[in-house]
Symmetry: C3
Subunit: 393 residues, 3 copies
Amino acid sequence: MKTLKTLFDELSALDCDGHGKDFLLTWEKSADELRAVLLLAELFSELHRAGRPFRVFDTGLAVSIFRDNSTRTRFSFASAANALGLTVADLDEGKSQIAHGETVRETANMISFLAEVIGIRDDMYLGEGNRYMREVAAAVEEGFAQGVLHQRPAVVNLQCDLDHPTQSMADLLHLVRHFGSLENLRGRKLAMSWAYSPSYGKPLSVPQGIIGLLTRFGMDITLAHPEGYELVPEVVARAREQAAASGGRFVVAPTMEEAFRDADVVYPKSWAPYDVMRRRTPLLRQNDREGLKALEKECLANNARFQSWECDERKMQLTRGGQALYLHCLPADISGVSCAQGEVSAAVFERARLGTYREAGYKPFVIAAMIFLARVRSPRAVLGKLLGKSAKG
Amino acid sequence: MKTLKTLFDELSALDCDGHGKDFLLTWEKSADELRAVLLLAELFSELHRAGRPFRVFDTGLAVSIFRDNSTRTRFSFASAANALGLTVADLDEGKSQIAHGETVRETANMISFLAEVIGIRDDMYLGEGNRYMREVAAAVEEGFAQGVLHQRPAVVNLQCDLDHPTQSMADLLHLVRHFGSLENLRGRKLAMSWAYSPSYGKPLSVPQGIIGLLTRFGMDITLAHPEGYELVPEVVARAREQAAASGGRFVVAPTMEEAFRDADVVYPKSWAPYDVMRRRTPLLRQNDREGLKALEKECLANNARFQSWECDERKMQLTRGGQALYLHCLPADISGVSCAQGEVSAAVFERARLGTYREAGYKPFVIAAMIFLARVRSPRAVLGKLLGKSAKG
Amino acid sequence: MKTLKTLFDELSALDCDGHGKDFLLTWEKSADELRAVLLLAELFSELHRAGRPFRVFDTGLAVSIFRDNSTRTRFSFASAANALGLTVADLDEGKSQIAHGETVRETANMISFLAEVIGIRDDMYLGEGNRYMREVAAAVEEGFAQGVLHQRPAVVNLQCDLDHPTQSMADLLHLVRHFGSLENLRGRKLAMSWAYSPSYGKPLSVPQGIIGLLTRFGMDITLAHPEGYELVPEVVARAREQAAASGGRFVVAPTMEEAFRDADVVYPKSWAPYDVMRRRTPLLRQNDREGLKALEKECLANNARFQSWECDERKMQLTRGGQALYLHCLPADISGVSCAQGEVSAAVFERARLGTYREAGYKPFVIAAMIFLARVRSPRAVLGKLLGKSAKG
């Protein structure tokens, strides 16, 4: 494990300035910007482990907008905000809202007078979530430029239709800690595989976030899913390009078994069929309950054809030495535990369970790092002071 | 713009002590008490713009009671509380409650053991909202006197059936900044006009708050509305008296056009007919859904007769130089934007839009000023320390 | 009243270390552990009365899980957390959930990464509430041991099916202040009596908490209730043993009158029949609305047979000098005030009213004391510093 000093020195050596920038998609960020988040998240985590505070704000709001249910991300955001000295204020608009234009522009400013950050989760509508975040960002940008706002709050993507950067960055940090360094990930094979779940409408953002991020670091990524469960084509294309550029590899496989073969890491996780998600957006927009119900039925029936896509002992035996690291964003659908038949067998999950908890444990620190880098003007100076002060305290 | 020092000096020169006093109606406050709120709100706003904190509490609760939906006021209150160092605790009782007697008395004490302030929004029932606030205030007064509470939390009116002081004071501060000083408002003509909206049951407190406050400062106020859209008679009578006493003027006009003629400021805003609001209270109390539905239908049908009451380019041309300042408490019903036909045309609103955002931006600081003056025993000393400390920080 | 110094000295003299321990049932705690909570709660209360802060955390979450409606306990927990420097994060799962196994284990860890304390109210299901708390505690214990959590949050029982320790400890502190000392409670007669209420399904935890705690200190406790309104047998047996061990007395009486005779303290309070609560658990678990409705009807009909169980003037005359101290956890069902016929007559309640408010007023400080003792490693040192610093401030 790196010392606090090493983490601070590596962070100081990076050439990037995140100040004033939103965190919306990992693939818009430079490799150094991503490295800065990883290093700072690890630094915050180690400070916290040592019982040393990393509060940098005296007061200020961290606004949250959750347009979908959330417990884990909600607590991660609340934890990050609290640790930095911010107080969460939740904009509770009801869940199924699609708003644009003046409504978004005005609301964004009204909630931001004393806000440092706006965290948004909006993952229900393909083509909408990320777009909504950009509208909010544009609104506060205008508000700040026009003297409405005294400061420009950063917008942080807490999951959208395209990406789930706080999750994928936590996953990446977990990999870094597991394999020793970011460099050690080079050439490691990761299987990002669809898995069966009896539920419906799970967003595509986790697998997209994984292939959109990990292809940056030379990993050998296999994406596997049944026919019809494609991801957003632009993200897949980007993953392919990034893999080529980073000296990694990106392929698509038709079975979980093929993806798992010799994998160092497996990420078996359910998601909704792309086509279903596309047909869902207009139905949600029209609030067509009958249509949504019919679509759900169709989707579950289709899912049921792929119950064999379970991460079980037999498939795990295909991985490198039968010992691949199992990742999951939680909660997993565990066969015989949380459902009759699900993403993962009870035995495989139980072995991996504490590891997935640890994986999740990076998320609060990743979010704190994102907020810190976006809002603190002189990160090195502030961190230096923090490290100095805490050491004495 | 005044310097921090000027604001502090002017504030120090005022002869008023708000300590221990609730803020329930502007017309119960002395002119100096109102001036103190304005100066302190401006001081806090300027401190915040400069990135300087104005936290004065280490811990403590700011209790909120919202008996009607609210986003803007909720965030303003949360922002003010946070900036002062308080944490919001919301008493979520459900919306349509009318409670009196022991229930109010007991609850008020149970939520106040560590509370510094109780902010209440209760604007749905004519004759109820302000009365409820006074019951809460009497309950905590008794609790404090009888040793139940260690401190007496201040009650702040976040909108009631009679007044909306945090809004009207923010509007006033916006006018002060726009025209240069409180004195410069003397003789300026303001049109407080009803405007058409396709919605129903909007409270009377905004127009009442405006005529109840701005007539104190020598302004020339015209209130305009269709027949049947009168305001609470006592408030109108008070506005008339105050205008006479302050050397201003207060008249009622039958058309938006007449009110707008040569106006320096226009405030076109919908509200429910007085008679409807009076008939609504017993229906709400009896939870008579059928009766409420019938009343809504009747009201909307009546509203529809006055669709021409829209603030459009043609009417704006009637104002002084065609350039009157447009005020609104937001969100406005914008024709062709947030509804088919509404309070204001899209073009007029778009020109005024950022101005209305800035107007709203004073509200957190106004609320913070109200809390500070009600709860801080030696405001000059504490502010002096704050200004000194921040200057160095 | 004891001085701060006396409280601190007495606290320092106690031989107990609450660090790292949950607070789930008072009868699992040593007498010194209970005394420590009482002394510290009184110390915090006196500090607060003097306007002196007792914040000990810079940041950190106080997670709350309310599986039943709550206003008073919610505000008490929020107040305690705030005063100590923690921020409440509520896990809002919906009310009627019974979860076990991996769901609880995983959720408990996911909400705890930056948590110092988890406060749980789960009083709806006999045999479930306390069990759930232990599952949560075991989960965070494992998480901490396995490196998932950097710290082990303490679990505090905010009311379960067996005990309501934050209430009973506040009641006890009220008695201590009323009678002068814990020692002065010896031999005092307390009547814990069932009382009529037109409502249904009130938990058994308040009377159980009272008999389970006050029998520890040599009091002479009479429990009275109609046939069928027994408490959980294990708790009654424990009360009996504890009374014998402490030199007190514990008897069960068949009427409120008999319990009240010569009582120094009366606690007339409704609860649901034990048998009904037992039959209710499987119905709730199966979400059997019809069955629950039928059971409610049956229970209310049965209740109605005991309308004479009201604490009225006549019964109060039976108590010692007609002057017994009246206790209630609030809100009371007051005849002619909050219901037609209830637990207590209006006249009796009105005389006792402010006393019950003061009784409730200890709860935030009791909770703060429980959190402090469970989470602060060197309580004496931290308190010493707090007292020194505040004295100057």
